[in-house]
Amino acid sequence: MKIGALIRLALIALLLALVLRPEWFTWAFAPFAPPGGPVIYTRASLLSLALSHLGLVALASTASTLIAVTLAVLVTRPAGAAFRPLSRTITNIGQTFPPVAVLALAVPALGFGAGPTLVALFLYGLLPIFENAMTGLSTLPPATMEAARGIGLSRWQRLVRVELPLAMPVILTGIRLSVVISLGTATIGSTVAARTLGEIIIAGLLTNNTAFVLQGGLIVGLFAVLIYDALVQLETYLSWRLGARRARG
């Protein structure tokens, strides 16, 4: 556990240094740059690219979470039951669509830039969250639900105070899957002119400059791994709190 925390801190420090002070790493990337070519990507500030990248993912993931959880709540109510098989079919089929294909197909419909990337991230992000929210909301312990009904909670109170908190760890897993996919897809978004960290990798690929590729790859990879890890920690904490509350109650 302690080693884990140390590694985490070291990785965060490395990531911050790579983004804020890229010139510190000139010695490390120099062997990969073409002779006489630039070693460190300077066409845009790495910080602005990182912020724009994370902003896109955060915006898309928030929107997907809101819509997907709302849809999952609607489908798990008695009135929405008729749509349950259909929604399951849609999530199954939708998830076989490659994220890159969704991104590429958004371009003819919406043009280039951040717009299609945002829409593709949003649409693809819906599926894992919806799937997990539906699983979480439809596999609640019947005894707990009966008790909630028994103490006279209204439908809305049951949803907000019992069902959603109980389903939260499963929903969070869905959000984590969706965020990880979004981070990766946003990287490819730079091929459709969205401002993301993928720009560095693409620039490296176009000019045969492996130093850029490596630099961009390391930054994106570190971001993904650290965000994934942070969300896992959050899930563990929430399930622990849920368990603790249940034990106390």
């Binding site: 998830q95 990766g184 091929t191 693409i202 490596l214 994106v220 990879g221």
Partner: protein, 378 residues
Amino acid sequence: MLSRPGLLFAALGAAAIFLPFLTLAANRIVAGQGVPIWSLAQAAPGLVALVLGLALGVISRPALRLLGAALGLAGLLWLLVQGSNALLSDAGEFARVSPAAGFWCLLVVLSLLMADALGALSPGPWARAALLALTVGLVALLLRSGALSDLSIMQEYASRKSGFQTAALRHLGLAFGSLAAAALIGLPLGIACHSSARLREATLPVLSFLQTIPSLAMFGIMIPILGWIATAVPGAKAIGIAGIGFAPAFFALVLYSLLPVVANLLAGLQSTPPEAREAARGMGMTGFQRLIKVEFPLGLPVILAGLRIVLVQNIGLAVIAGLIGGGGFGTFVFQGLNQTATDLILLGTLPTVALALISAITMDILVELATPTAERTR
């Protein structure tokens, strides 16, 4: 009794009829002009079939809804073939006709209607396999017949026939080759993890972190590593290892595939009921015999489900190979994005999506066939 999803489909489909159905452009690059359904020549039969199909979809009997979906799709096809033919016959030499928003929306609505009706009928695995074969056969026949050759995307295909075949083979090679390699590495690794808890605790987190790394970054990081191997290891270059092209894409895909293979193998092997394991031990089976004769067959559905995840994931990720010179359908996707040529983008994405769907359905059927019958009916 009416089907509520059917009502939704009917409303969406009716709205989509009013969207532009085809676009007519002066050449392959410029933006085209939308053409609505009713201004197409001889649109009446197709339109009638479409409306009738959507109306049948409202009925709650699944068989009738399936019929409705099939009728609607037939109408859609009629409109596409007739419409593109008629539009091109009085347009310029370089004119291009492509399906527009209306067509795609109707296609999605009708396909969902079909999927919903099929889901309600819940056909067995063999019936599903037959349906899949029938659908693929019909689409292949349609593409072969040349009825769609007026469409812009088919013209892009016609001018790139040999390139398309190379890309298709390369894409299949990447997706299935990496699946095979991942299975070869992952199955022994998973079995080793199954018997050693320490190895398991060391391996699984590493594999799941590998999976988190965004694909473009992973492909990029593979380039210098494989470039170094190619120059440092004697003979590596001779077997085709290089910093750019097929090799980095292939190795990146293998790394991504390891987690689903190993994790599902473990889950499958551990799902053996303790009574079955106990009985096998009582019969005097050795550890290896138990693994092969009891644990592996019982875990097969879960193991196959892991391979399904890998296959679908790799078919999608192999598109990225197009960015690092690895070939595959991604070549067309990124060329199309560079030239803002929509049809070229579609020429890359549609086969990829079709391949992913066919693989997913096939693997689902295999998973179901591997599941013991008693469990399947439960």
